[in-house]
Symmetry: C2
Subunit: 406 residues, 2 copies
């Protein structure tokens, strides 16, 4: 059985429940007498290089619980993607501090970081147990039914579209809401959970899994607007043309790339504005409004799924248990085994690292501008308890007097 110090860090974009996983690690680790200390690295792998560690063993349990309920990465995060040289530096620090367990809570890029660190450790003959703990609002990790962080973000998107649909029904026109998701449309598709009555929006949903054709989009909007007198649209920030070029980058002059070589899509309202301008100009509809949900959808304080909280806690706990009782590195994964219940397993790092899950065809409607009932059934239990509902007046219409006379 392993012993020594453990180190936990958080990478990539924050979520509403990433601290649940952190606290799951910290509290579960304290239950193993062989674990000498629980360190937390500030700002992900960057904090390892800087030897910027907090001793979480000396945290109050109650404060840890309060931090668990707070959104965004309490340790700080990073977009750094370690190469071999970076990893060599990491080892120097781990060795100096006698750290023999490394837990990294993150998404695609973070799982790849764990894979590289694990490989480098093996090459260097350093006895490191490296475990990736899943987290991403994009829901794009392979081998998982879903990923912690996604259910809460999905709930935010559903609640946002439920409200935007009512707003659009009150003051009619076209509403475009742009949702996060570079390659996977899960979070955008969550908008559809807002639809209660058959004429509720979102009426149209555009996902990065399908090629975006502006002419088809405009035709869809026109048809919907003529039918309902209004139109609510959910659009993924990652929609792209047939060549794979993001629609957003067709407009933006200065394309920004992150450390992983990804085009920067969030933090700008350009895509919503572009689509609104096209609708106004081409369809001659006067009231066209666009919102980009931006960072609110992953960090809004006070919109969280309790199912998500529970599972995020559990993947953290399981990571410690796998590290102590199994003899291999890996990535904790969520498997659905009931309606609704999950269990966990440890999948090989190379099975998940750097790979991207996208929406299954069965979740996308044939027309490519909507989701299926199967997707709604998949997402429904993840949204958690206490989901707010919308209600309508059902009062009878009063008979017209003047119109009948005239």
């Amino acid at each position: 059985m392993a012993s020594g110090k453990i180190l936990v860090a958080q990478g990539g974009g924050p979520t509403a429940v990433i601290n649940q996983s952190l606290v799951g690690v910290a509290l579960e680790a304290r239950r193993f007498h062989q674990i000498e200390r629980v360190y937390g690295a500030r700002h992900g792998v960057r904090g390892i290089l800087d030897e910027d560690f907090l001793d979480l063993s000396q945290e109050n349990t109650h404060n840890l619980e309060l931090v668990a309920a707070t959104p965004s990465s309490a340790l700080g995060s990073t977009r750094d993607k370690p190469d071999e040289k970076y990893c060599a530096e990491i080892f120097k620090v781990l060795r100096a501090h006698r750290i023999e367990h490394f837990f990294y809570i993150g998404g695609n890029d973070s799982s790849d970081t764990v894979r590289i660190v694990s490989l480098e450790a093996q090459k260097a003959g350093y006895p490191l147990r490296a475990i990736h703990i899943p987290k991403t609002v994009d829901n794009d990790l392979v081998g998982n039914d879903h990923t912690p962080g996604f259910p809460s973000a999905a709930r935010f998107v559903a609640q946002a579209f439920a409200g935007a649909n009512l707003d659009n029904a009150a003051l009619t026109g076209v509403y475009v809401g742009v949702v996060m998701g570079r390659h996977a449309g899960f979070l955008t598709a969550a908008a559809k959970m807002a639809q209660k009555f058959p004429d509720d929006g979102p009426h149209l949903v555009y996902l990065p899994e399908r090629t975006f054709v502006l002419e088809n989009f405009l035709m869809d909007v026109k048809t919907t607007y003529e039918r309902y007198g209004r139109c609510v649209i959910a659009v993924s920030e990652g929609i792209h043309d047939a060549s794979g070029t993001p629609i957003a980058s067709l407009l933006k002059k200065d394309i920004e790339h992150d450390a992983h070589g990804n085009v920067q899509l969030s933090g700008t309202g350009a895509l919503a504005d572009l689509l609104c301008d096209e609708i106004k100009a081409r369809l001659n509809i006067k009231r066209v409004r666009g919102d980009t949900f931006g960072y609110l959808q992953r960090s809004f304080l006070g919109c969280v799924s309790d199912v998500d909280q529970r599972e995020a806690r559990e993947v953290g706990e399981k990571a410690v248990q796998y590290a102590m009782w199994s003899k291999r590195d890996g990535s904790v994964a969520i498997r659905r085994n009931g309606l609704y219940s999950v269990d966990y397993h440890l999948q090989p790092l190379e099975a998940v690292a750097g790979k991207t899950r996208v929406m299954e065809d069965a979740f996308i409607a044939a027309g490519g501008n909507d989701v299926t009932a199967a997707f709604r059934a998949y997402l429904q239990p993840l949204l958690g308890s206490g989901m707010p509902d919308i209600h309508r007046l059902r009062a009878p219409q009063v008979e017209k007097i003047l119109a009948l006379k005239g």
Copy 2:
């Protein structure tokens, strides 16, 4: 004592609690045996012209309660601003349906509509009792301590900035959040309620009550960024230069105006993008992100202040009582009489109609880029119960080993 039918309608932008006022009118009216029927006009004054009425007397009480808890105008809304001819048409319909009480729930523009309708009724000798019921997320109605709709929107903005601040602390850089508010900065100022620890954002707040000078703004951002290694900024959509020209319109080529002659500010991310571009280019800061809160801040499902709900219900109830027991038209207003408690009074329509309250000087910090403690004390009780809180790790720092050796 008055009798006959009553008509209620909703005007202007929806809020999280505007249906509370509607239901307050509908339920209170049923308690007066003299009131024959309670009609609701669909889409504001436009629905009167169209004789598009629902008979709310025949609604279930329980369903009314469910609608009250649903955001956005259940009857639909309008931006129509009636002139004399429009009002003449309104009278024809009111007379035909024997409607003798008109309740209009709305903001500045709606109160002016009530004033015109009231005047036209007097001129025409038609026995109409016209009452304006306050509603606006902008909090810009004169004679009110605050207006229903504002507290819930303020809570959304505070929760959004609390999350955005944590996100920005995890992945550092500059964050610009653009908040609604054409002339009044109250809603933008609400962002400041997100600040718990002294280094929390928002660090800077820009309001339409002060002239926006780009050079000063950039200097503020630079100073804050150097101090904290990051910077979170709340900006009102209504910020303008010394000539009063909105900063947003300095960028946008096609300026859109609404029926009231106002420049369209919401529904575009242009202002946030403009400010972010300036910060990137001039301050050479790499990670700069902008969000425009857009329609989410007034219609998000599931973010509401219970104080706001209660007061919105009460102004609706009071409107009916004033109509039945007083002999004059007017606008229901909220007066703070305790910490925290309010009462209501009926102010003359001409005292509120078409006027705009802006933030008191005592609420704005001397530097013009922050709010005062007085503002926080003013807003705190309005946010309601159960406001989510944020927590930090307080674990001790681990001593460096390599850094000391090196």
